[in-house]
């Protein structure tokens, strides 16, 4: 990652609303951050915090009842949200590809995997069928699947192999950014580990950036350069992986980091985070985390904390009155 580069993806003040009978639920609330070329950014938070909704917004995939109501998403300076459908078709998969949460089920059960990979290549590139076929074989080889599996149907492959096929399809057109939404959640730990190792070998080889969305902070701490923490649609903290895991500043991040029993180290009773996730249809004035926070002050009830830099370099951000008051930037 080189910080003198221009950001690859720039998310500016993005809001996504879900329109419901009971009012609008703001699933993503004024989120801004950048992803630089070759960087791995992790986005963590519990279910319903808006991390997957944001991933959908990045490819401009939202349809009613979801609505991107504000903000802009700039990919190398071009706003994805104002692109025509022809431009979008060109942008998706060529520049940014996605691996979805249910990736294992995102393959078409009645098509051979060769057809599904070739389909992607032919839709975006002017190549002959033979070329596409040999390209597909190469792709499968890069994710560790033998070419003899080209004519298999998805149900003939194990979960881990299906996941590898999905990753191969995401890599097909050498995108600069891959958005991965809980890519390994449904897999066993050993398989998950193998796939993550392979993914990072590929990243080294091709140099793409990854936006990695997961609730598994442990995994993220190992692979991500920077981590953003989301709560109730807002980005509440951002920093390097080490900063987030070792010196979490926001009380929610602290709770989240403390929610994972570790395999080594002392065995102590952990407390997790009391209370339940916020109902987005009944948001309070002030900080959204107030009901579950143990060190709230009066200010938290009235004023919504903004995401502010804690250091001069500006890459350590937190949205918490208490944390910012304690550490006023010089």
């Amino acid at each position: 990652m080189n910080r003198t580069d221009k950001p690859l993806l720039s998310i500016r003040n993005v809001c996504v609303d879900y329109v419901t009978e009971h009012g609008n639920a703001r699933a993503v609330n004024e989120v801004s951050f950048d992803i630089y070329p070759g960087e791995t950014v992790g986005l963590a938070g519990e279910s319903g915090c808006g991390k997957s909704t944001l991933a959908f917004a990045i490819a401009n995939l939202h349809e009613a009842p979801a609505l991107i109501s504000e903000g802009e998403i700039l990919f190398e300076g071009r706003d994805i949200l104002t692109m025509s459908s022809a431009q979008l078709r060109d942008f998706r998969w060529n520049e940014t590809s996605m691996v979805f949460q249910s990736a294992m089920n995102s393959l078409n059960p009645v098509l051979k995997i060769s057809e599904q990979i070739i389909d992607v290549i032919l839709a975006h590139k002017r190549v002959s069928k033979q070329e596409a076929w040999s390209r597909a074989e190469e792709l499968l080889a890069t994710v560790g699947i033998h070419a003899s599996r080209m004519n298999s149907y998805p149900h003939q492959l194990s979960g881990g192999m299906r996941q590898r096929v999905v990753i191969a399809i995401a890599l097909a057109l050498r995108p600069k950014l891959i958005v991965m939404d809980e890519p390994t959640t449904a897999l066993d730990v050993v398989v998950e580990r193998d796939i993550m190792d392979e993914l990072f070998e590929l990243k080294e080889k091709f140099g793409f950036a990854i936006l990695f969305i997961s609730h598994d902070l442990g995994l993220m701490g190992e692979i991500a350069d920077r981590i953003g923490i989301m709560y109730a649609g807002q980005l509440v903290e951002m920093g390097t992986a080490a900063q987030i895991l070792e010196q979490p500043k926001h009380p929610y991040t602290r709770g989240l980091v403390g929610s994972f029993p570790t395999i080594h180290g002392p065995r102590v009773r952990l407390e997790g985070i009391p209370g339940n996730p916020l109902n987005l249809l009944q948001t309070p004035a002030g900080c959204y985390f107030q009901a579950r926070c143990s060190d709230g002050i009066d200010k938290c009830l009235k004023h919504k904390p903004q995401l502010k830099p804690l250091t001069n370099s500006g890459d350590r951000l937190v949205a918490c009155h208490v944390a910012v008051d304690m550490e006023v930037p010089a």
Binding site: E46, V189, D194, H215, L217, G218, A241, S259, P261, I263
Partner: protein, 338 residues
């Protein structure tokens, strides 16, 4: 089965011990076709022995298909063992002459499932879910007492305000709250043993610990847990003892700290090396060969991990390793230690 054999094959106490479930050489086969003759079988659980003690938790850790849920279901009498025995204290629960009815057995042993959205009836209130087991299993109670106990149990699992919660329907509760109701239901029966099959894996990360801590508190009140999980870190957090399963076999078991801090079986080592540790981008050396997880049948021989094990010898492919005791409470099934 003779007492001597029990001592040999069961390194963890014996079935005469009070307040325990004792599983001895449990084998469960499933038919893989419907043929009238020469029906084929797969062996989901093979030679599994363990003891579940009151006030303690035993974690069974393994990947999908390792037979851990099958064990729990057999303990619930949902599956009949192909061979092997399950004892509840001194009663052979599948024996021909035991006096235990299913209701009496259910009063002792209850199960909590992975999916709290599917395990509660959507058309009934929480009060119904909890008062019904009280009525069925404690017929002597009058309605006033049933109501009092219902409210008491709701409060005990940390749902407040208890009266309002009793009137709610499952859809009005979050996943974590629903899982608390499922635990409350086992408490209402008065179960002494709870078989928890991945009770937290469908819950949000921030509320998983709350459920584990609630079960920890119940453990202190004398309830024994079989905690089934794929997450060996939570196994160490919650359970005193841990058994690691691979393709239906217990490969390593004992005190949770010994098993997780000093793993010996190649599979346990692989499993632990796969757990992400923040801040450490591990340069992992090859831990195991990549091979498909074998389909175990009654005719299969050898160690189930032999195909993937880097240290496997010819012996491993033909003979099942016996049990070796490594420490006071640490056992392994592997030729490396024989």
């Amino acid at each position: 089965m003779s007492e001597a054999l029990i001592e040999e094959s069961a390194p963890v106490g014996s079935h005469t011990e009070k307040a325990s479930i004792y599983v001895e050489d449990l084998v469960i086969d499933f038919a893989t076709d419907n043929a009238l003759f020469k029906r084929r079988y797969m062996r989901a659980v093979n030679q599994v022995s363990f003891v579940l003690k009151a006030g303690e938790a035993l974690a069974v850790v393994g990947e999908s298909g390792s037979g851990k849920s099958t064990c729990a279901r057999a303990l619930c009498r949902l599956y009949k063992p192909t061979s092997g025995k399950i004892w509840l204290q001194d009663v052979d629960v599948n024996g021909k002459h035991n006096q235990l009815t299913q209701r009496q057995y259910a009063q002792e042993v209850q199960m909590i499932f992975q999916d709290p959205f599917g395990s509660l009836n959507p058309v009934h209130t929480i009060r119904h879910h909890l008062s019904r087991p009280l009525r069925i299993h404690h017929p002597a109670l009058d309605e006033v007492e049933i109501e009092r106990r219902t409210i008491e149990i709701i409060a005990r699992v940390g749902l407040s305000p208890a009266e309002q919660t009793a009137d709610k329907y499952p859809h009005e509760l979050s996943g974590g709250q629903r899982q608390r109701v499922a635990i409350a239901r086992a408490l209402a029966v008065g179960a002494k043993f709870i078989l928890a099959d991945e009770p937290i894996s469908m819950l949000d990360v921030s509320i998983r610990l709350g459920i584990l801590n609630l079960m920890e508190d119940m453990k202190k009140e004398g309830i024994g847990f079989l905690y089934i999980t794929h997450d060996i870190a939570t196994a160490r957090y919650f359970a005193e003892r841990t058994a690691v399963m691979y393709v239906g076999h217990m490969v390593e078991w004992g005190n949770s700290d010994s098993v997780t801090q000093n793993p010996q079986h190649p599979y346990t080592k692989l499993l632990i090396s796969a757990i992400p540790e923040p801040g450490i981008r591990k340069d992992r050396k090859e831990m195991a060969r990549k091979a498909d997880i074998p389909l175990w049948t009654p005719a299969s021989v050898g160690c189930p991990f032999a195909e993937r094990c880097l240290k496997a010898t010819d012996q491993c492919k033909t003979t099942m390793p016996g049990v070796t005791q490594l420490a006071e409470d640490h056992f392994v099934r592997c030729f490396l230690f024989e």
